[in-house]
Amino acid sequence: MDQRGYEVLGPTIHDSAISYGPIHAIEDLPEGWTSEQGPGSYRLKRRTDGALFGYATGPKSLKNFLHPSEIKLFTAERTNGTFRILSNDGLAPRRAFLGVRACELAAAGVQDRVLIEDRFKDPIYSQRRAGSIVIAVNCSDPSSVCFCTSMGTGPRAKAGYDLALTEVIDGGTHEFLVEVGSETGADLLAGTEYSEASEELRRKSDEVTARAERSIQRQFENAGVAELLKENFDHPRWDDVASRCLACGNCTMVCPTCFCVTVEDMSDVTGDHAERWRKWDSCFALGFSYIHYGSVRLSTKSRYRQWLTHKLSYWHDQFGESGCVGCGRCIAWCPAGIDLTEEVAALRAAAPAEKTNGGGE
């Protein structure tokens, strides 16, 4: 990969979590580590089988690299009473991502729909996406917050990868099944030592996926949720969740599909040099909806409602699919342990029969 000019990013232990970091050698991988996750909780744990990829997703996703949290849009320079705008001439980094899960591939697909396939194309995201190689690793150890099976996004990667591995540990053997998803993947594989997979290895790989599927307990009823949310804007449950929500925006930061950004303008002390930066933003921030007479969404209730309704309902109107891939990050990284599957279930269970119209006069 180095020779091809790609920086390899894969699972590393960093800040007490497993998240993408530079991989130079096999020792950089989190061998013998896993994660234990629950609402508002993420803990690293030891495991005894020496697995290299035996964990569920951590806080970072491909979004951190393809849709970076801070990036300069342009530089402007003032000269002779006017100014000129200079483009960013930096080339997008070329990266190979190792250990990408099926839910993350689905999330990148969701971001593609927003940032490439809609009316406008984000050049920053497009270049980074085009300059990426994806080596997926099929998930063997979903955590208790995962619900990819409810969203139809996992646990096995079906498309969108160059290579997909399944780590198979059985008794004394530690093997990987490799599946090729693209010409680039085939090319990569050709440069390595490998042997044709046995029927048994294929069967064991399928068994890894079947075990992962069985271990997923969390359920989310996706059917009908788009309509449910639109018809329940004034449901008392919004007040209930608002009493727990800190409006910190953690869920939007770790969400692999949340794409909202703001821009910041700045200049140096001489005023001759100005820059415009794009940064991640969150619909939980009070200033997010600011217009000249104040913020439109003042209450935490309205901000949580906006986030959940956009993610699970408006996203269908805008992009023809849900904005949720079932990765569970928003549950694990919520400091208050708010669980969107539980919130939607509560809205569904107690949907007021009488008052369901959000737009009544």
Binding site: F83, V114, R119
Partner: protein, 290 residues
């Protein structure tokens, strides 16, 4: 008939880098009120100005200060200039209105949907504006007066806080003398010399006679004004799909990436800013904070 066609919406093929603005020179500056200025911009000799249709907006960048969405308020029949009427409400708008002739701003756009000039052809047209909301409707007035025979009656109802805050005062009186055109203005607070109406703009519905089935309404102003305007029109049996609104939300990008302008299922920047009330009905009821 020379009605304005639907805009050719900008897309990624037209905008290799949708974040990069182009420079425009300020050719004239007109002070409208104590806090509102119209700047008329032209491109440097080499560039050709982008065409716009009434209702569209641009993102205007004041060097070092930032960028804001501003509706185009000029004449769509004059392709050499893009006019912006800007009220100072924050750091960027203040920077923009203190620019002088010969200074440069930068812009991206025009973006967004147009007022229904095609649907309005042959119909009566009711314009309802509050405050700075008259600016995005001015291109409609210019267009109708330029193509007078293609439209029916033109009724302009305009409300401002006080007489001093009425925009385009000379033009208002000129428009009122145009054929088959009625202009009524009202203010929230009069002053001794004011002889016009006092009260919210929706009160003016009482002083005009309109044919609901033959009228296209275009409304722009604070959201609360539009909510009351809609109620007034509904009470007079105006069909929801013949009422058009220009909506406002925070905007950082104008191309659907920043997420700030979402209102219900819409991105105001690329699905709007002009919508029919039929499209907006569900999101403009009694609920707030959407």
């Amino acid at each position: 008939m020379t009605v304005i066609a639907e805009p050719e919406l900008l897309d990624s093929t037209a905008l290799a880098d949708p974040f990069r603005p182009q420079l425009a020179r300020i050719a004239s500056v007109t002070r409208e009120t104590s806090d509102t200025v119209t700047i008329s911009t032209e491109l440097p000799a080499t560039g050709s100005l982008p065409q716009f249709v009434p209702g569209q907006f641009s993102m205007l960048y004041a060097y070092g200060a930032g960028e804001v969405p501003i509706s185009i308020s000029g004449d769509p029949g004059n392709p050499d200039r893009l006019d912006y009427t800007i009220r100072s409400v924050g750091a960027v708008t203040t920077a923009l209105i203190t620019r002088k002739v010969g200074d440069y701003v930068a812009m991206r756009g025009p973006f967004g949907t147009s007022w229904p000039m095609e649907a309005a052809a042959g119909e009566d047209v009711l314009l309802v504006a509050g405050g700075i909301g008259l600016a995005p409707l001015r291109p409609v007035i210019y267009h109708i007066l330029r193509h007078r025979s293609e439209y029916g009656r033109l009724v302009i109802l305009y409300g401002a806080r006080s007489p001093k805050e009425l925009l385009f005062r000379k033009e208002l009186s000129g428009w009122s003398k145009s054929p088959d055109t009625q202009v009524l203005t009202t203010v929230d607070y009069g002053e001794p010399s004011w002889r016009g109406y006092v009260g919210v703009v929706t009160k003016l519905f009482n002083f005009v006679s309109l044919r609901p089935e033959r009228t296209i309404t275009m409304m722009c102003g604070p959201e609360i004004m539009m909510r009351f305007g809609i109620r007034g029109l509904q009470g007079r049996k105006f069909p929801d799909d013949r009422i058009y609104l220009s909506m406002e939300r925070n905007m950082k990008c104008a191309v659907g990436f920043c997420g700030h302008c979402q209102m219900g299922p819409y991105f105001i920047c690329k699905d709007g800013p002009v919508f029919t009330y039929g499209q907006m009905r569900h999101w403009m009821g009694d609920l707030r904070e959407l």
